[in-house]
């Protein structure tokens, strides 16, 4: 059971809320309160647009504990439009083949249950092919 951790991370997980550095304006995700670019203090919340592109990806056929139900699924490194890279599942792929450089957008989805079907449901960001 990791309820306190899920609860602490909910803002960044549900809606891709990171930080913006007040000194060099770098957009930061995940939030860490210190700018990785200029090392200044950076605590200003920033709502990312959710737009990005696939930087790299792999297909998970043998999932870690808690994710077995969804196999096979695709995990990608997504380069956000504002700069940072995030690792996340791709979803709603349908028959579309995943390609490097493919434009994707953030959606909030069920990630897993904490424990079995009696546990809390963990929600968080995934990315899907951009809908026009």
């Amino acid at each position: 059971m990791e309820i306190p951790r899920h609860w602490r991370l909910k803002k960044q997980r549900y809606a891709l809320v990171g930080e913006v550095c007040p000194h060099c304006e770098a957009k930061i995700f995940p939030p860490r309160d210190v700018c990785p670019h200029c090392s200044g203090e950076a605590k200003t919340p920033y709502q990312f647009s959710g737009q990005g592109e696939v930087y790299s990806y792999t297909v998970m056929n043998d999932a870690p504990a808690g994710f077995e139900e969804n196999t096979p699924y695709t995990v990608a490194v997504v380069k956000l439009a504002e700069g940072p890279m995030v690792t996340a599942q791709l979803t709603d792929l349908g028959a579309e083949p995943v390609k490097i450089g493919m434009p994707v957008e953030m959606v909030t989805r069920r990630i897993r249950s904490d424990g079995n079907d009696r546990g809390m449901i963990v929600y968080g960001y995934k990315f899907r092919p951009v809908m026009q």
Partner: protein, 360 residues
């Protein structure tokens, strides 16, 4: 006036302040199972099927995730800061938790403040429209400037049951605010409620039960016609005053028949009739029909929407579309964008997506 010459009091729900819908948004998941595929498994393909196909949620979707997306679309159209919402209400009969509100997760995900009401609503297929009436009350009384009401479902259908053909996933979100900001002014509403046991699901049970033919005349038709007729009479409007009408749509036949009974023509209900393509989205059913109408409505159009929820009750709403609609329609994905995004699945995939296989 009655026979004694006294004025009959109006039964319409009218707010103290004029109000309207300032933003709306829909959501339909990607997967579709054709009714013919369900018929292939359970009873052959003879006879007429109630819909062409229905929308099925992905493994990582539920009423909360679908509500979040519809709410984000509504916020994009409203153009307001989510911190200004004073209510985030989700109406559904498939809330992911039996105890723990869906609304709190949705509110957090869309960036609402902590200054909100957020209880869940339940009234079978009219849980969403009931939340909309409550939002009218909250805004219309001056308790808050904006309120978000969502009707969303991932409806449960027992394998092999008649309702499995139609029990679908989808819905819509509406933000109620002052009339001067509205894309459609809410002219009033009226609700008609009785104790009618046509459909229910007992606590802890996976699938609902229904009383077969009893779901028609004393249930669906009686409540919708009662709500619509009282609304029309007390608002002094007639069917021909409306460009569009949307009725709850458990199948393709019922809404078309009730429209005819009330004096509406097929072209008035065509735009809002989505059930043949996405199935019955329960608490989302009449509301997603309305969102599809708003996607194409023009200033000056009048829209009548009547929901139906088993148990039973109907909410009737009259809307008058304003000039603000034109520039807001394109600010988010439209209902049809979601309907056009379609991946067909077979019954085996459906059984997996709906978690009907026991894994452990």
């Amino acid at each position: 006036m009655d026979a004694a010459g006294t004025e009959k009091p109006s039964l319409l729900l009218k707010t103290l302040k004029p109000i309207g819908i300032i933003g709306y948004g829909a959501y339909v998941p990607r997967y579709r199972i054709p009714a013919a595929e369900i018929a292939r498994i359970w009873k052959g393909a003879e006879g007429s099927l109630p819909v062409k196909e229905k929308a099925v949620p992905g493994l990582d979707e539920d009423v909360i995730t679908m509500s979040v997306e519809a709410a984000r679309n509504a916020l994009a159209r409203a153009g307001i800061d989510p911190q200004e919402l004073r209510a985030v209400w989700v109406g559904s009969e498939s809330h992911p938790y039996a105890v723990k509100p869906s609304g709190t997760v949705v509110a957090e995900a869309i960036g609402a403040s902590t200054n909100i009401q957020s209880g869940d609503w339940e009234f079978a297929c009219k849980a969403g429209s009931e939340a909309l009436v409550a939002a009218m009350g909250l805004v219309g009384s001056g308790m808050g400037r904006y309120a978000l009401a969502i009707g969303m479902d991932t409806a449960q259908g027992k394998p092999g049951d008649a309702l499995e053909f139609t029990a679908a996933a989808g819905g819509a979100a509406f933000i109620v605010g002052p009339a001067e900001e509205a894309l459609a002014v809410i002219e009033g509403s009226y609700s008609f409620v009785t104790d009618t046991p046509d459909f229910w699901r007992r606590e802890g049970k996976k699938y609902p039960e229904h009383s077969q033919r009893f779901t028609g005349e004393p249930a669906y038709f009686h409540h919708i016609t009662s709500a619509a007729q009282t609304y029309l009479e007390d608002s002094g409007t007639k069917p021909e005053d409306y460009t569009f009408a949307v009725f709850h749509q458990p199948n393709a036949k019922f809404p078309q028949r009730v429209a005819g009974m009330l004096g509406f023509k097929p072209e008035q209900i065509k735009t809002g009739l989505l059930v043949p393509e996405i199935g019955n989205t329960y608490a989302g059913s009449s509301l997603i029909g309305l969102s599809n109408v708003l996607d194409v409505a023009k200033p000056g159009d009048r829209i009548l929407t009547v929901s139906y929820g088993s148990g039973s009750g109907s909410d009737a709403f009259g809307l008058l579309v304003t000039g603000a609609i034109t520039e807001r329609q394109g600010k988010a994905l439209k209902t049809r964008d979601y309907i056009a995004r379609r991946t067909e699945i077979d019954y085996a995939q459906y059984v997996r997506l709906r978690r009907k296989i026991t894994m452990e």
